[in-house]
Symmetry: C2
Subunit: 214 residues, 2 copies
Amino acid sequence: MTPQPLPNVRVAIVEDSSRLRESLTELLTAHPGFEVVCACRDAETALTQIPKILPDIVLMDIGLPRMSGIDCVRQLKAQLPSMPVLMLTVYDEGPFLFNSLKAGANGYLLKRTAAEKLVESIQEARLGGVPLTRQMAGKVAEYFQQIGTIAAEVATLTRRERETLELLAEGFLYKEIADKLGLSFETVREYVRNIYAKLHVSSRTEAVVKFLHQ
Amino acid sequence: MTPQPLPNVRVAIVEDSSRLRESLTELLTAHPGFEVVCACRDAETALTQIPKILPDIVLMDIGLPRMSGIDCVRQLKAQLPSMPVLMLTVYDEGPFLFNSLKAGANGYLLKRTAAEKLVESIQEARLGGVPLTRQMAGKVAEYFQQIGTIAAEVATLTRRERETLELLAEGFLYKEIADKLGLSFETVREYVRNIYAKLHVSSRTEAVVKFLHQ
DNA sequence: GACACCATCCCCCTGTTTGTGGGATTGGTT
DNA sequence: AACCAATCCCACAAACAGGGGGATGGTGTC
């Protein structure tokens, strides 16, 4: 049944609820091919233990007592950039997901994920994948679509207006933009006025914010 | 073997290479539970056929002759927002992926994806998921991480300076920021000065650009 | 062909906002 | 004692925003 004696996947768990920590440990220990080599109750312990133990993958909760799991990932990744970290949490709001990804997490699962799926996701993360639950993948898609709709507003700008906006967003003065585009100062001001009208803003910063959000 | 006679999944294919179009059709037709109800060679045909035929899912190539598959998705989604569309393409560059997602695509697969995986992904997209190949999911993660690293620069700001910068980035006037933070106009200007020094910029726009790139 | 429309280009005037140079005081850390 | 975050003030110049105005050329429509 086991032709090659594959080494176990060495898993670290960071989770403050001792109940959940134990049930996760049991679940993985029961599964052939997995081994829990570290189970920490807080971020501080994790940051000292994990670099010593060097597990194959880390399962990280977000709602930890002092330092959040997201900050913990950030620090861990600073030391061990290639250590796969899977967030395993109850938070299904977008900001938690996005901040986890920004901090370097390699996947984001909700705690109600089935045991079966968890095991699959661990394997996927180890292979370089980014396992997300369906809902979370949907949020990532939404994020990009929202950006897309702002892009539609920017699309109403004429060619010259768009060029002007791009240079505005790089911080150039009107005078510098005029030089770069070979226009007069006044013409640039005219375009800026049109840009404001089309994007429904009334300052350079607001226009640039919209543009960059696209 | 088939206790309930489930209706077939009705698939539309938009692909300019007739070779690929046929091999995809064969592949899906051979698979029980799938049926190809529409196979278009270009975006224009797809835009007239698909709203009539109303398939359960669309497989879309990007490299189409006149109108790109991405623009085709955008238009299709404008009429049929809930129609699942899977991009199936040879382009593995980030911009194609991101633009597809912005246009409303529900997944992004590379053409070298195994037949098995394709069938799975169609099912996943129909269930509201966003199937991405591992490499593409990795690009999405990279995108968020890149954003995260720039954040370190902003970390040198003090609490008040950061609060000020956040409001600057929302386009508020100094006076409005002063009101919101319960400070005097002059104090806000003082913070702005410090922000410029720490971020090595010399205008509001440049500061906001740096902040938003984080 | 006349007319409207729009993108492109340019100018003036007025007021507000921002950028930069100097100050100052308080309270907390080292 | 030295330092620094946090708070406030003044003055001047540069940049920006909003209100006018007008000219050209191309694309349409009626």
